[in-house]
């Protein structure tokens, strides 16, 4: 039983947390790709800047003496999401809209988004330096240890408050997104435009509005992902820049342009990463009693050494591109 709990702690919880982050990021990327047809590289910076918005708001609230039972960074999240949505709209207005108006190819927009990445990252580093910050300077990070002794486990089930919140928030926002896309007029317009922009326009859909809504949704989700990630680990300027490729991998694995695919891809990659570096000896150790002397299990028996954890996502990406380039769910073809 101890082994099973260990497995849940190491693989199920950490995989779910990682998967939620990837999924939230990948949804934004896939929505932007579906509507605007370019790979938005600067999504990582939307995530990081969103986390910094939340951090500043939390610091502001703390200076007013507001104390909340749940982490302050989480309380200010709606406000930070609004700020991030406005920021995303501003970036689109300032950098992508002029290029789109000129009729630039998607590739040019991709390069422009890299320029935006560098600029935003430069600005963040300019104001906040290269160091790392924690949301929990003045609060305590609650850690729930669920004692499972009655099941015969010597280890408790461990989950931290941010992790629990992250999983709940992801589920809620995925459901909200689902109802938005399938029930609301705007959501349906978004899906129509993702399928065929010209047809959507001639059938009277306000495409400019759809583009704006896309940026608002993507910016808000990116802020959520960034803040939750920063609550779980620490906040630093390259918080999301380091994981942008796994996020892209999640979006591609799910099929670019497919919102549900992105969620599935995110969870798949999150679980695959934590499963690949999982040390199987910890679970299989009881076998050592029955195994003969020469076949004893080594101290570490994982599929991939820990230092290659991030590489797992790239390998999955390459394999998916090779075997099924459109992703698990069939992605946008153009």
């Amino acid at each position: 039983m101890t082994e099973l709990v260990f497995f849940i702690n190491q693989v199920v919880i950490s995989g779910a947390v990682l998967g939620c982050i990837y999924a939230l990021g990948a949804v934004g990327i896939t929505l932007i790709f579906g509507i605007l047809r370019f790979a938005h590289f600067a999504h990582s910076e939307l995530m990081t800047s969103g986390a910094f918005f939340a951090f500043m708001l939390a610091a502001l609230f703390a200076s007013w003496g507001i104390v909340t039972p749940i982490p302050l960074g989480f309380v200010v999240l709606p406000l930070a999401m609004v700020m991030s949505a406005i920021f995303a709209l501003g970036i689109d207005k300032g950098f992508y809209a002029p290029l789109r108006k000129r009729g630039a190819k998607p590739v040019i927009l991709l390069i422009a988004s890299i320029g935006v990445t560098l600029m935003v990252q430069g600005l963040i580093r300019l104001f906040f330096g290269a160091g790392s910050y924690s949301f929990f300077e003045n609060e305590t990070k609650d850690i729930f240890r669920i004692d499972l002794a009655f099941l015969g486990s010597t280890r408790p089930l461990v989950i931290t408050e941010p992790q629990l919140l992250m999983i709940i928030v992801t589920v809620v926002s995925v459901l909200a997104l689902h109802f938005f896309l399938t029930r609301s007029r705007l959501g349906k317009a978004m899906r129509a435009m993702a399928d065929n922009p010209d047809l959507a326009q001639v059938s009277g859909i306000n495409t400019a509005l759809v583009v704006r809504v896309t940026w608002i949704v993507a910016g808000a989700l990116a802020c959520m992902a960034g803040t939750m990630l920063a609550l779980d680990v620490t906040l630093k300027p390259d918080l999301a820049f380091n994981i942008i490729i796994p996020i892209f991998a999640a979006a591609i694995v799910g099929g670019l342009g497919q919102a549900y695919g992105a969620i599935a891809g995110g969870l798949l990659i999150g679980f695959a990463e934590s499963l690949a570096v999982f040390n199987w000896t910890m679970v299989l150790r009881p076998l050592n009693a029955v195994l003969p002397e020469f076949a004893q299990l080594p101290a570490t028996l994982s599929l991939v050494p820990t230092e290659y954890k991030l590489t797992v996502a790239f390998v999955i990406l390459v394999v998916v591109l090779l075997v099924r380039p459109t992703g698990i769910f069939k992605g946008a073809s153009s």
Partner: protein
């Protein structure tokens, strides 16, 4: 067009002179050597993107391969490794690798013995897994043994120029595999796939301590030309020996760049270049004219990567240290892209111009930002607002912002670059 190029290059020359006057000759001469290497790398990207329209965002990986190659060839031999069981264990790992590859190959062809459909997929996955386990079972103890007993494999003690060539060959080999995997993809997918592959290469080189010493770094790597110390030993003073040595390296680098430029320009002007441009502009039309689009794109991808490998090797030779953790996508991939976009994709002189200009902007923006910050800090202190904290680290970050600004401005106002591609239309 010629007048425009001449004006721009004259401006660049003046900029270099100003820099030499302001920052001192030793600083400028090293930056020029690096700029030459970057020009070679930019030419490589220009072949891929400018001629062929291929979207390579994995430049960093090829630079690392080049750097590793020159380290491996030119670093002195490590007798501790060759005297130990290391070579034998590595040989066994190689055999295991071969056996694994054979297994996978067999599984992929298993339909010939009647295994089809889902079973074939299953057998292939199983073969990959078994092959991987067999390889890991041999390489892990070998790596641990070498790291414990000999440090790392060491070099071969060859001439650095041989190392540069090997860098090109290694990059070509990897580019062939990458191209086989990724070139069938659309542009965005290709960009992300190449980023992913370059990250895999980085993770491998960084963590294969037995081969590359990983984060422990390898130095000093010998120069192909005499070092400053050699000039000093023969009686020159410190300043002139530094200049003489760097001048020698610069000449060699310029020679390589010149040869590459000459060869590429000839290829571009010839039928091969016309074919490549036709594939880039309309691959469907080119295919209908009987051109093998996939094979040609693979060819151009490999050619471009060769130059990147050589350039990466040159950079490592010059700095004399191979530090896998110093490679960053911003410094080694995006920077090259900015060079090409600002210089002008499809124009070789544009690529060279962009490379030198952007490299100088990149290296100057940090001290420049520090001067500006110091000035602003003085000003704010005088107003009683207090000084700006951490000027050092902040000004180091300024160049990332400047790079992003340059890229967006260039895309907005000069999308074809400063020296656009010359489209010749014969009457």
């Amino acid at each position: 067009m010629i007048r425009r190029s001449l004006t721009l290059f004259a401006g660049l020359f003046v900029l270099i002179l100003v820099m030499g006057w302001a920052m001192g000759l030793p600083f400028t001469s090293s930056r020029l050597v690096e700029a030459t290497a970057y020009a070679l790398i930019a030419l490589g990207l220009n072949i891929q993107w400018g001629y062929g329209g291929l979207f390579n965002f994995g430049i960093m990986g090829f630079l690392m391969l080049g750097g590793f190659a020159v380290t491996f060839i030119s670093y002195p031999v490590n007798p501790q490794f060759w005297g130990s069981d290391g070579p034998w264990m590595l040989g066994r790992a190689l055999i295991a690798f071969g056996a694994g590859a054979l297994l996978v190959y067999g599984a992929r062809n298993s339909d010939k013995i009647g295994i089809r459909g889902g079973w074939k997929t299953f057998v292939t996955v199983l073969a990959w897994f078994v092959g991987y386990c067999v390889y890991r079972s041999q390489i892990d103890p070998a790596a641990a043994y070498i790291e414990a007993n000999a440090g790392f494999v060491g070099g071969l003690g060859g001439h650095p120029v041989l190392g540069w060539l090997f860098g090109g060959v290694l990059a070509a080999g990897v580019a062939f595999i990458v191209g086989k995997i990724a070139l069938g993809l659309r542009t965005d997918y290709l960009a992300i796939a190449t980023i992913g592959i370059s990250e895999i290469i980085r993770a491998l080189i960084k963590n294969m301590d037995w081969l590359t010493r990983g984060t422990l770094t390898v130095s000093p790597i010998p120069w192909p030309t005499p070092l400053p110390q050699a000039y000093q030993a023969s009686g020159s003073d410190q300043f002139s020996s530094l200049l003489l040595a760097r001048g020698g390296f610069l000449l060699l680098a310029l020679l390589v760049l010149g040869i590459a430029l000459w060869l590429i320009s000839r290829a571009y002007a010839g039928p091969w270049g016309r074919m490549m441009r036709s594939i880039r502009d309309n691959h469907i039309a080119a295919a209908s004219m009987g051109k093998n689009v996939t094979a040609r794109q693979l060819e151009i991808f490999v050619f471009g990567s060769v130059l990147m490998g050589i350039g990466g090797a040159m950079l490592v030779s010059f700095t004399q240290i191979f530090d896998p953790s110093s490679y960053q996508p911003i410094n080694h991939t995006f920077l090259i892209w900015v060079m090409i976009i600002v210089g002008g994709a499809g124009n070789n002189w544009g690529a060279v111009f962009g490379a030198v200009l952007i490299w100088l902007v990149w290296v100057v923006s940090e001290p420049l930002a520090r001067v500006i910050f110091d000035f602003a800090s003085n000003w704010s202190t005088n107003f009683g607002w207090g000084a700006i904290p951490e000027i050092e680290s902040r000004s180091a970050q300024m160049r990332v912002f400047v790079l992003g600004l340059v890229i967006t401005i260039a895309l907005r106002y000069a999308p074809k670059g400063l020296l656009p591609e010359v489209v010749r239309r014969d009457a």
